[in-house]
């Protein structure tokens, strides 16, 4: 079992705490003038995304988490789970709804996603920062209004709902920033 000593702590290091995998967000070494030193760390639970603080006695060891960040291609959803493929090895991996989370409403077949693997299985899925998706439903806008002064909800092919300018119509494809969930532009013909 691999372990890390507190003096190896740094941002991004993956460790096990109470049975869950965590990523170190911030590590601070604190020591009184004489005596025991401590590492005060902020860690993110990779399952829940929650950030908590922990205190370690310097010199203690912590179990390493077998966590790997990788780029996988999204293949399809079978109604329950999401199937991904490693483009280098063609190995296929299955992610459940917990792991996919919010990414589900942005990704479509062929998209490359950042997937965090824990013990070889998908733990979390990040969609690409920008996705291009087709609008399946929106109110017809006013003809000739290209000012972009107002907004209306539009449903995309993946089911996500974003606010779009009034001039954007059903059937058009648009570019969306998945980090904010906001409309960026109409997509050029691609």
């Amino acid at each position: 079992m691999a372990t890390y000593k507190t003096n190896e702590f740094k941002g991004g290091l993956k460790i096990m705490l109470d049975g869950d995998p965590y990523s170190i967000v911030e590590n601070e070494f604190v020591k009184p003038g004489k005596g025991q030193a401590f590492n005060r760390v902020r860690v993110k639970n990779l399952k829940t995304g929650r950030v908590v603080e922990k205190t370690f006695k310097s010199g203690d060891s912590v179990e390493a988490a077998d966590v790997l960040d990788t780029e996988l291609q999204y293949l399809y959803n079978d109604g329950e789970e999401w199937h991904f493929m490693d483009p280098a090895t063609f190995e296929q991996l299955v992610a459940d709804a917990n792991a996919v989370g919010d990414a589900a409403k942005w990704i479509k077949e062929q998209d490359m996603c950042s997937v965090t693997l824990w013990n070889g299985a998908p733990l979390s899925v990040e969609p690409p920062n920008f996705v291009v998706l087709q609008i399946t439903e929106t109110d017809p806008g006013l003809k000739g209004d290209t000012s972009g002064g107002g907004g209306k909800p539009a449903t995309l092919e993946t089911g996500a709902v974003v606010s779009v300018p009034l001039f954007v119509q059903i059937g058009e494809t648009i570019k969306v920033d998945t980090r904010t969930g906001s409309y960026v532009s109409r997509a050029k013909d691609e």
């Binding site: 020591k31 030193a37 922990k54």
Partner: protein
């Protein structure tokens, strides 16, 4: 580059301060056959077996040998080395100002430290206050650091909201260290110099322990804007007691699975020959410079941090 200029000017003010007071600048070896025994310090070791040498963690032992040899008041500005210490306020190699005053009490030395800081910081009106260690813990945490049980110390840490305190396994002093650096030191020295003094006898390090009005180590630390800058002692001059503390340190090191280190026989011989009653203090000049320049990270006052050295 601005930090290096400020550093040079700071050193010049310090040297002028000591020249005016008749304190002699000295140099002692950085490489020694002996090492600090303190379990909280890890020395860098060079070479193996009989040829092993240790980089000093402070120049304390050879400077005390100079005192025993009749040097009179002395100071030194030097680089010291501490393995495994790295953070925003810690760097494995840093600059220490250490000085010794034969005939000074702990309180007289605190006065001189305050005088030096006013000169070093160009702050002639900077106020200084003194708080006894016990008083700080009682007034801020309702905890008696001399008598509270380990469970009471843990409960105080939990009540103060130290994250993960429930899972920590610490000894009695470890809990005090945790409370001091997580809950108390951040408020010390705000807009003034705060001297914390009279430490628990179990944290005497190399200080003399006084019996009255309650047993206390004649040790002090100086805080400025929540940062610990200096640690001082009324120095232990009793050779058998020094040997006992060294051996207790070595036992603690063995218990914690730390590397054994050779204890300084030359220091013990000097104490046996007789060292004058003295007070001494070590002050971190990188942190002082951080305070002077308003820099929060020690890397900001170094020419090149360890990772780029």
């Amino acid at each position: 580059m601005q930090a290096l200029q400020a550093r040079a000017a700071l050193f010049a003010r310090i040297r002028a301060f000591f020249a005016e007071r008749g304190v002699l600048e000295v140099e002692t070896p950085m490489l020694s056959r002996y090492a600090a025994t303190d379990p909280a310090l890890e020395s860098f070791r060079l070479g193996d077996g009989l040829a092993a040498r240790y980089l000093h963690t402070s120049p304390e032992f050879p400077m005390k040998r100079l005192l025993a040899a009749g040097s009179g008041p002395i100071y030194q500005i030097c680089r010291v080395f501490r393995d495994r210490e790295r953070g925003r306020r810690h760097h494995p190699e840093f600059t220490l100002l250490e000085w010794y005053r034969p005939g000074f009490t702990m309180h007289a030395l605190m006065d001189e430290v305050a005088d030096l800081l006013r000169v070093a910081l160009n702050a002639p009106d900077l106020a200084a206050e003194r708080i006894a260690y016990r008083e700080l813990f009682v007034s801020r945490l309702g905890l008696d650091p001399w008598h509270a049980s380990v469970d009471e110390r843990r409960a105080a840490a939990l009540a103060a909201g130290v994250p993960g305190a429930d899972a920590l396994m610490l000894d009695a002093d470890g809990w005090l260290d945790l409370l001091l650096c997580h809950c108390l030191e951040g408020d010390l020295g705000r807009g003034r110099m705060t001297f914390l003094y009279d430490y628990p006898p179990s944290q005497a390090a190399l200080a003399r322990v006084r019996a009255t009005p309650y047993p206390a180590a004649e040790r002090f630390e100086l805080y400025l804007e929540g940062v610990e800058l200096a640690n001082g002692f009324r120095e232990l001059t009793d050779a058998p007691e020094q040997r006992r503390r060294f051996e207790a340190d070595l036992l603690a090191r063995r218990r914690h699975g730390q590397r054994p280190v050779p204890l300084d026989a030359m220091l013990l011989a000097a104490l046996e020959a007789g060292m004058p009653d003295s007070a001494g203090v070590a002050l971190g000049l990188d942190r002082l410079l951080m305070g002077l320049l308003g820099v929060a990270d020690i890397d900001g006052v170094l020419a090149f941090p360890a990772e780029r050295a």
